[in-house]
């Protein structure tokens, strides 16, 4: 240690920025996983149930998004698309769009393996009591799939929560942006990171524990 003097008073003075940022981070991750799950579920069903020709497109979609850096996707959606489309959206909207698409690419895989893990006997039983395709999907396959996919989904949520830190690069006022704001205005760098690191860790841990309870409750033995 050199002669660095810790001074947390500036952090507490601007602590509301961090708290609001944290709440926004959680919210962004939640909205994105919901939208991502809807897109991912539809694409996963198409992938499994509707013929070969869609598989290629969905495969390209998944590989394209999973193999490019999230930072690049964020820039592309925020700066790139409005520049050719001639419209604008707020940084928060653009980030939610990006993160939802990003989440959907990961969730397709999760749902695809979840749907294929639904026991054939269950689907046959649903057929036997006369449910049609849509009813089988809504009442039997999707609910069972969600119970199988829950652990992977909670991991995805936590990693999305951490990924929201990237929203700071386009000035979405989430936790990381709050931290940087304090850095640039008070230069209390170490103190800021000493505060937000436990915030990320603690919140991530609490979410993990809560989701593990949920998983235990809805666990199915495949």
């Amino acid at each position: 240690m050199t002669d660095y003097h810790f001074n947390f008073s500036y952090i507490w003075k601007h602590f509301d920025r961090l708290i609001n940022g944290l709440l926004l981070s959680l919210e962004l991750a939640l909205i994105s996983i919901v939208i991502g799950a809807i897109i991912g579920l539809m694409l996963a069903i198409i992938y499994i149930d509707f013929g070969r020709k869609y598989k290629l497109f969905i495969g390209i979609y998944v590989e394209l998004i999973r193999n490019s850096p999230l930072l690049l996707l964020i820039y592309l959606v925020f700066y790139g698309i409005p520049s050719i489309g001639g419209f604008e959206y707020s940084s928060t909207t653009s980030f939610v769009i990006t993160l939802s698409i990003y989440a959907s690419a990961y969730l397709i895989e999760v749902f695809r393996s979840g749907l294929s893990a639904v026991e054939q006997g269950l689907i046959d039983a649903a057929k036997a009591i006369g449910l049609n395709y849509l009813q089988r999907l809504i009442y039997v396959r999707i609910p069972t799939m969600f119970r199988i996919a829950l652990p992977s989904m909670s991991n995805t949520y936590i990693s999305l929560f951490k990924d929201t830190s990237l929203a700071s690069v386009i000035a979405v006022p989430e936790l990381m942006y709050g931290a940087q704001w304090i850095n640039f205005n008070t230069f209390r760098v170490i103190e800021v990171y000493a505060v937000i690191t436990p915030m990320y860790l603690g919140v991530g841990f609490v979410i993990l524990v809560l989701l593990r309870q949920l998983e235990k409750k809805y666990r199915v033995d495949v």
Binding site: N67, L71, S165, N183
Partner: protein, 213 residues
């Protein structure tokens, strides 16, 4: 479109920095990660505990926090790192925690009978590891390891935020001159996807090749 083509030399310069960062990070993370991974599997209770805290801590925070902390935070305690070095250090810390877990998973997947058999023919611990466990475990280690190489190439885009002129920042600079974001982003996207896709495809291929029955 012309801008996109004329920007390619700049992008290639950036790409070479991205590749340098990736290779350095992968090298250091693999060396440190495998050693710590052996310790976490065979070490005493306390060593396991310490390494476990390290991996859970590092994996629990966003990489961006780690990068900014190393670059902006370390100078305050007297460690002034160049931005390139800071980027490599931060990403290495992050990647090491993944390699530790890969190593642990790979070693633990080997049946304990192998270890016992090696003991019974009188090999000491070092030889048991080198001649019995490692050759078996490497098949389990390789596919996730290649995935994490691809992940590093992807994650290295974040170093642009502390001013390292990698592919990402080279793109931003070109855009700053041409004001035509879309073509440049698409070229960049294609470069990243090509690198990462080839790596992850290799990983999948090895995984199916090395599957034990």
């Amino acid at each position: 479109m012309e801008e996109a083509i004329s920007s390619i030399p700049h992008l290639i310069e950036g790409l070479s920095v991205t590749i340098q960062v990736t290779l350095l990070v992968v090298f250091f993370a693999t060396v440190i990660g495998v050693i710590l991974g052996v310790f976490i599997t065979y070490g005493s209770k306390y060593i396991k505990y310490i390494i476990r805290i390290f991996t859970d801590f590092v994996r629990g925070i966003p990489v961006l926090v780690l990068i900014f902390f190393v670059y902006y935070g370390f100078p305050a305690i007297g460690l002034n790192l160049d931005n390139f070095v800071a980027a490599v250090v931060a990403l290495t810390i992050f990647k090491t925690s993944h390699v530790i877990e890969n190593t642990r998973g790979a070693i633990e997947s080997i049946h304990f009978g192998q270890m016992e058999a090696a003991k019974s023919i009188g090999l000491d611990f070092k030889r048991r590891l080198i001649f019995v466990i490692f050759p078996l475990a490497i098949r389990r280690f390789l596919p996730p390891w290649i995935n994490s190489v691809a992940d590093t190439a992807k994650g290295s885009a974040l170093v642009s935020l502390i001013g390292v002129v990698d592919l990402m920042l080279a793109m931003q600079k070109v855009i700053g001159r041409t004001y035509e974001p879309m073509p440049v982003y698409i070229v960049g996207l294609i470069i990243y996807v090509l690198i990462n896709y080839s790596l992850s495809a290799t990983s999948r291929k090895l995984e199916s090749k090395y599957r034990f029955n």
